[in-house]
């Protein structure tokens, strides 16, 4: 059951959420069986920034009822390290590669988009806008004007599809999505994690548990929020929507498609079962085949 997305022909509608699957690490752990049974129809790589980042100090995880909070802090090798070490390995995957990038200013995002524009290994770019613009102090993805100005800056730099990863931590997510569309985005993806926090149970003074103080909530705990936001955004835009948030089964992927998603990403469930994406895809394809009669 192939699906068309921004000019890409995908085998099925299930991809991964950025930062929830490291295909290079997984190949070390599982060998070539990972390639033979690759669970996603396209692979979205972990956020790349211009400079290398160590990430947040541990602890980085907190388990919740039906999910977890992570405070990873976007560790990555930086643009140069990614191009040298990661891109050649990711280019060997049997599916199209979508590179997720984040910058702390429009210039930084432009440098990243420009660098990937010429790389034929890269099928599309996803812009992570869940960070502050250090020049304006505004959360890029929380403000329609910020997102519009960002897209106006980077849209002329590449003909590749640009997907804007929307943050749910915004007052009016559909307006942000519309601003992205009006400034030339090819698709939007949502939801990113919801901001959350945990207190160290061993601390008498109530210190935060996470090394980064706050983190992002994901997993089935956010599924209902994701469904509502995907629904609202899909009503507001004409461009395709990638829906994600707490999907564990095919029927939950189908729910997001009913809410307006063209593709669905599996994230946290891959932590419980590395092959979860493939299982969800099989379940979804079967559900779609049955409902098509």
């Amino acid at each position: 059951m192939s699906v068309e997305f921004c000019g890409l022909e995908l085998e099925h509608p299930i991809i991964n959420g950025s930062g929830t699957f490291d295909a290079i690490a997984a190949r070390r752990a599982f060998g070539d069986e990972l390639i033979e049974r690759f669970p996603f129809a396209a692979f979205v790589s972990k956020t790349v920034t211009l400079e290398p980042r160590q990430g947040n100090p541990p602890p980085r995880l907190w388990e919740l009822a039906g999910g977890l909070i992570n405070s990873i802090g976007l560790p990555n090798k930086g643009l140069a390290g990614y191009l040298e070490h990661d891109l050649p390995e990711l280019a060997e995957l049997p599916v199209p590669l979508i590179v997720n990038v984040m910058g702390f200013s429009r210039d930084e995002v432009a440098a990243l988009v420009g660098a990937f524009a010429e790389r034929e290994e890269v099928s599309a770019l996803e812009l992570n806008v869940s960070c502050p613009n250090v020049e304006t102090g505004l959360m890029m993805g929380a403000d329609p004007g910020e997102v519009g100005r960002l897209l106006e800056r980077v849209r002329p730099l590449t003909a590749k599809p640009l997907i804007v990863k929307l943050t749910p931590n915004a007052t009016d997510v559909p307006s942000v999505a519309r601003a992205a569309q009006d400034a030339g985005a090819d698709a939007v993806s949502l939801i990113n994690t919801l901001r959350g926090m945990a207190i160290d149970p061993r601390s008498r003074t109530g210190e935060p548990w996470l090394g980064g103080t706050t983190g992002g909530v994901s997993g089935p705990a956010v599924r209902a929020v994701a469904l509502a936001q995907v629904h609202d955004v899909a009503q507001a835009v004409e461009i395709p929507v990638v829906g994600m948030g707490g999907v564990q089964r095919g029927v939950e992927a189908l729910d997001l498609m009913h809410a307006g998603a063209t593709l669905v990403a599996v994230g946290t469930e891959s932590f419980r079962d590395p092959a979860a994406g493939g299982r969800v895809a099989n379940e979804l394809v079967e559900l779609l085949a049955n409902s098509a009669v």
Partner: protein
């Protein structure tokens, strides 16, 4: 040898009580033989998240205690919602596992004898390592009290210390090591404070040590970046580059959040 991709069901074959501990045995007919020091991510097939909104939700990482003819043994202490659920497993129930994952212990450097040092439930990887090395190496094992010290029977040649003095030496396992460090390589696993004491002692005496660390893990295969520990080379993912780390790359074996 790579781990099979994806989680698989392993039928529980036995549940044994060892004082404060439970040993769960399960059949893993299709999995490869684990190397000593490797680990598995475990959860139960029933009543473990999966949409009904309760903890536990994530699988838990356990070093393999023993492996014989496709039967895997795991040592578990009931300390929270995940271990509580695992300790309830009955023969015939299914365990979902991913693994074996991680690196495992390396053979001792030339002209050095292996010396095993364990604390509490951290004795687990030393048992399979002793199975491979043969029963000669002494195992210095520290426990809280007599109930926990039952675990010592899982290893050969145990020398026991307890916090309350109810069994063996009254004090820390590191007290027992002081006179045993000539021409040895130390293999240690246990609570962070014990590992850090072993690391410091070995560093002072110029003794090489391989430490099996623990860290909260969401996935076990490098996806979540949650299990990092600081090393001289920056943060490393314990699931990929560990759980066994050479002590020489650690400034501390008890980083923030360890042992929770």
């Amino acid at each position: 040898m790579s781990a099979p991709f994806g989680c698989r069901a392993a039928t529980v074959t036995a549940r044994e009580s060892h004082g404060a501990y439970v040993v769960i045995r399960c059949q893993d007919p299709t999995g490869p033989r684990p190397r000593p020091g490797q680990f598995y991510m475990l959860r139960t097939a029933e009543r473990w998240g999966g949409g009904d909104g309760e903890r536990p939700f994530l699988p838990r990482a356990f070093s393999v205690l023993r492996a014989h003819d496709h039967e895997l043994h795991f040592l578990i202490e009931d300390v929270g919602p995940g271990t509580n659920r695992l300790c309830e497993l009955e023969p015939g129930e299914e365990l979902l596992l991913v693994g074996p994952l991680g690196n495992g212990f390396l053979a001792p450097r030339e002209d050095r004898r292996p010396l095993l040092v364990g604390g509490g439930v951290g004795i687990a990887p030393l048992a399979i390592w002793q199975d491979e090395l043969g029963p000669d190496p002494l195992a210095f094992l520290g426990f809280r009290d007599a109930l926990h010290a039952h675990g010592a029977a899982l290893l050969a040649n145990p020398v026991v210390a307890t916090d309350d003095g109810s069994v063996g030496h009254h004090g820390l396992v590191t007290d027992l090591l002081q006179n045993e460090l000539e021409e040895v390589e130390v293999y240690a696993c246990g609570p962070p404070q014990m590992l850090e004491a072993v690391r410091e002692l070995c560093a002072d005496r110029g003794v090489p040590a391989q430490l099996a660390l623990e860290s909260g893990m969401a996935c076990g295969f490098g996806a979540c970046f949650g299990c990092v520990v600081p090393t001289t080379d920056g943060y490393v993912r314990l699931c990929l580059d560990g759980p066994v780390l050479d002590a020489s790359i650690l400034r501390t074996a008890a980083p923030a959040g360890a042992g929770h």
